[in-house]
């Protein structure tokens, strides 16, 4: 076997391992996220370090069965210890989590240090469990991971309905006689198992990030649980592979931080770009609203100038417009240009008049403004000199349906509180 062959084979099984871990942790992580147990995941991960060491001390080897068994025991123990402390003392759960996490991790580090000072040659690489070392994965490790990951996935599919129910509404779940404790135990057990197979790759310190971040990412993009799980898996595998690849290219870059870096980037991008929840979407929406308000204000102003002159086919200059309503100069220029392009305004030299569509629109905004002022004075009993500013905003929001209701409610009034005539459609 040449070195290249060896490398290929190694890379191959390492990436299979990554895909399995990322899939399992994304699925389990969605439930951890929805049950708001992110800190518990972190605690379990840290508390599995002493188990790794105990497994090694007892067996004297890094054989994955002992390591996994050790990590699973102390991980599960930590989850129950947290429950026990919360139930038996007055401490709140965040305190209990903090206590168990720090005790677990420090015991783990103590054991690890003492193992490193013993002269057992087999111990080299055990410190990879802190920040993760994907290259240290052997084929035998991957076999065990594969078995556990597949078990986790199958269990989740089988118990999906029940997991969802106990995550959403525990007391209802109990009330219909669901074996709540058993199902919760199952969910906790597969969470611990997932963490246990993840720590060799990503490390105990950052395992919680692999558990939680993909579901947090997915939550930005969807409101459906099935889609959320799917997106979480895709994000998790993508970041896992990218992170593992990067850490294999850069000497001494541990896998954990490398994967978490990619996860953070994707989370940040989701935060910025996702629809409805992302800040770019919100920004674009705001820009669109401002645009609409600007255009409608210009049309309204020119309409009202026409009203005052009793001629809607007259041309008005920028000066005329600015005398009637304040606009920033560049905003007004931009708005006039756009309205001309859209066919609402007709330009001649440095003056503008409403087109037919422009007149209809300007008239509508004026009408809505005045109707709303009447509504506020009649129904909310605001004084007429207090209603203008409010109507300035609402006029841009009212839909045709609401307009119909409004006119009907007010009984097709002729004038607004300032005795301005209400212009109805011809």
């Amino acid at each position: 076997m040449t070195y290249i062959d060896f490398l290929l084979q190694n890379i191959h099984h390492v990436y299979i391992g990554i895909i399995l871990i990322c899939t399992a942790s994304a699925i389990v992580g969605c439930f951890t996220f929805l049950r708001k147990r992110a800190l518990l995941g972190d605690t379990i991960a840290h508390a599995s370090l002493p188990g790794v060491c105990i497994g090694f001390i007892i067996s004297g080897t890094k054989h994955p069965v002992y390591i996994t068994l050790g990590a699973f025991s102390t991980g599960l123990l930590s989850a129950y210890l947290v429950d026990y402390i919360v139930n038996k003392s007055k401490l709140k759960s965040d305190v209990a989590l903090g206590i168990v996490l720090s005790i677990g991790f420090s015991v783990g580090i103590l054991l690890l240090t003492s193992i490193q000072h013993s002269n057992n040659a087999a111990q080299s690489g055990l410190d990879g469990f802190i920040f993760g070392k994907v290259a240290s994965l052997l084929q035998s490790d991957v076999m065990i991971m594969a078995g556990i990951a597949i078990a986790v996935i199958v269990i989740t599919i089988l118990f999906m309905k029940e997991f969802v129910l106990i995550s959403f509404d525990p007391s209802f779940a109990k009330s219909i006689g669901l074996p709540y404790e058993k199902i919760e135990f199952l969910l906790t057990a597969i969470t611990v198992l997932t963490i246990v197979i993840g720590i060799q790759t990503i490390g105990v310190v950052l395992m919680a990030a692999l558990l939680i971040t993909p579901s947090a990412i997915a939550r930005f993009w969807t409101d459906r649980l099935s889609k959320m799980i799917f997106i979480a898996i895709v994000a998790s595998i993508f970041c896992g592979i990218m992170g593992a690849y990067l850490s294999s290219q850069i000497p001494n870059l541990p896998t954990g931080p490398s994967i978490v870096m990619f996860l953070s980037i994707v989370a940040l991008l989701s935060f910025v770009f996702s629809p409805n929840k992302g800040i770019v979407y919100k920004y674009l929406l705001k820009a669109k609203n401002n645009q609409k308000i600007l255009e409608e204000n210009i049309l309204k102003t020119i309409y009202q100038l026409g009203e005052a002159n009793k001629r809607f086919d007259a041309y008005f200059t920028k000066k005329d417009i600015l005398e009637k309503k304040i606009f920033q100069n560049f905003q007004l220029n931009k708005g006039l240009k756009q309205l001309k392009n859209k066919g609402y305004l007709i330009q001649s030299d440095e003056s503008w008049k409403l087109s037919k569509e422009g007149k209809i629109k300007g008239q509508r905004i004026t009408r809505l403004h005045r109707l709303w002022e009447i509504y506020l004075t009649q129904f909310l009993h605001l004084s007429p000199d207090h209603v203008h500013d409010d109507a300035e905003t609402i006029e841009h929001l009212i839909t045709p349906e609401i307009e119909d209701k409004l006119t009907e409610l007010l009984g097709y009034p002729k004038v607004d509180p300032h005795q301005m005539e209400i212009p109805y459609k011809d």
Binding site: S167, K174, D223
Partner: protein
């Protein structure tokens, strides 16, 4: 004034005491409820109304006494009993839609490992129709108003098709129209012979809504038909003057880790 309705009660609560961390919050509750009535549980905040319902449902351990529904322990009759928790007890940001919540009411019929069948989905839609929420079936639950969320919970209970219903403040935060929809629905259920037990806060509507009342304030002040129990004197006993003595003794029990029974 505790009227015992001894012939074949549908619900019997016998000398029930319930504690949180050794501090009793319900003391010696003892009453029965006949079949096919609309029952109101009335009492001030912290009176233990929610605790009473949860204990009857077996969600909170009993310190002493017992509960029987249809003359059986709750675990034997869960299929016939429905519980509607307080709306605030769940996270409405959960990524799911209205129909999926209502389908939860069918889970005990669907069973483990199986997914809902057409009949379950039909039943869920039918339940949504009864609470006038058909058009919101696919709506993400966080985008429902408080009153609509309450109706989704109610639809889930209807989908359970139980014989006795326990509802914790189904009228909290709903508007008058929704309250009317809900109460009409509940009255229809009672006419069909179901028993509905509701935690309620608005004393104005008590006489209109309920046939039977439980007045509760850490102990049972009164239980019986509304016309006998809804009196100024008993209400005064329920709401007037905090039961500071009872509460103080409870604290003492907790401090000294006393068993409340020897």
């Amino acid at each position: 004034m505790i009227q015992q309705h001894t012939e074949a009660p549908i619900l019997e609560v016998h000398d029930l005491t319930v504690s949180y961390n050794k501090k009793p919050v319900l003391w010696g509750i003892d009453f029965t409820i006949p079949k096919g009535v609309m029952v109101g549980i009335i009492g001030p905040n912290g009176a233990g109304k929610s605790t009473l319902i949860k204990t009857i449902m077996g969600l909170i351990p009993i310190s002493s006494g017992f509960v029987k529904i249809f003359e059986e322990a709750i675990d034997k009759v869960r299929l016939r009993v429905s519980y509607v928790p307080q709306r605030e007890s769940v996270d409405w940001d959960f990524p799911t839609n209205a129909i999926d919540i209502v389908l939860m009411g069918r889970y005990h019929k669907i069973g483990l490992f199986k997914s809902p069948r057409k009949a379950d989905i039909d039943a869920a839609m039918e339940a949504l129709e009864q609470v006038k929420m058909t058009e919101f079936a696919q709506r993400q639950i966080s985008q429902l108003s408080g009153g609509q969320q309450q109706r989704v919970f109610l639809a889930r209970a209807i989908a359970q098709d139980a014989d006795i219903y326990f509802m914790d403040e189904p009228f909290a935060g709903v508007d008058a129209a929704t309250e009317q929809t809900i109460i009409e629905l509940l009255q229809k259920m009672v006419q069909k012979g179901k028993t509905v037990i509701v935690v309620h806060h608005d004393l104005q509507s008590v006489k209109k809504y309920f046939d039977w009342l439980l007045l509760l304030n850490m102990h049972l002040v009164a239980s019986g038909p509304t016309k006998n129990v809804f009196t100024d004197e008993l209400l005064q006993k329920t709401y007037g003057g905090k039961l500071s003595l009872l509460s103080k003794v409870g604290d003492l029990l907790k401090q000294h880790e006393f068993p409340h029974r020897e």
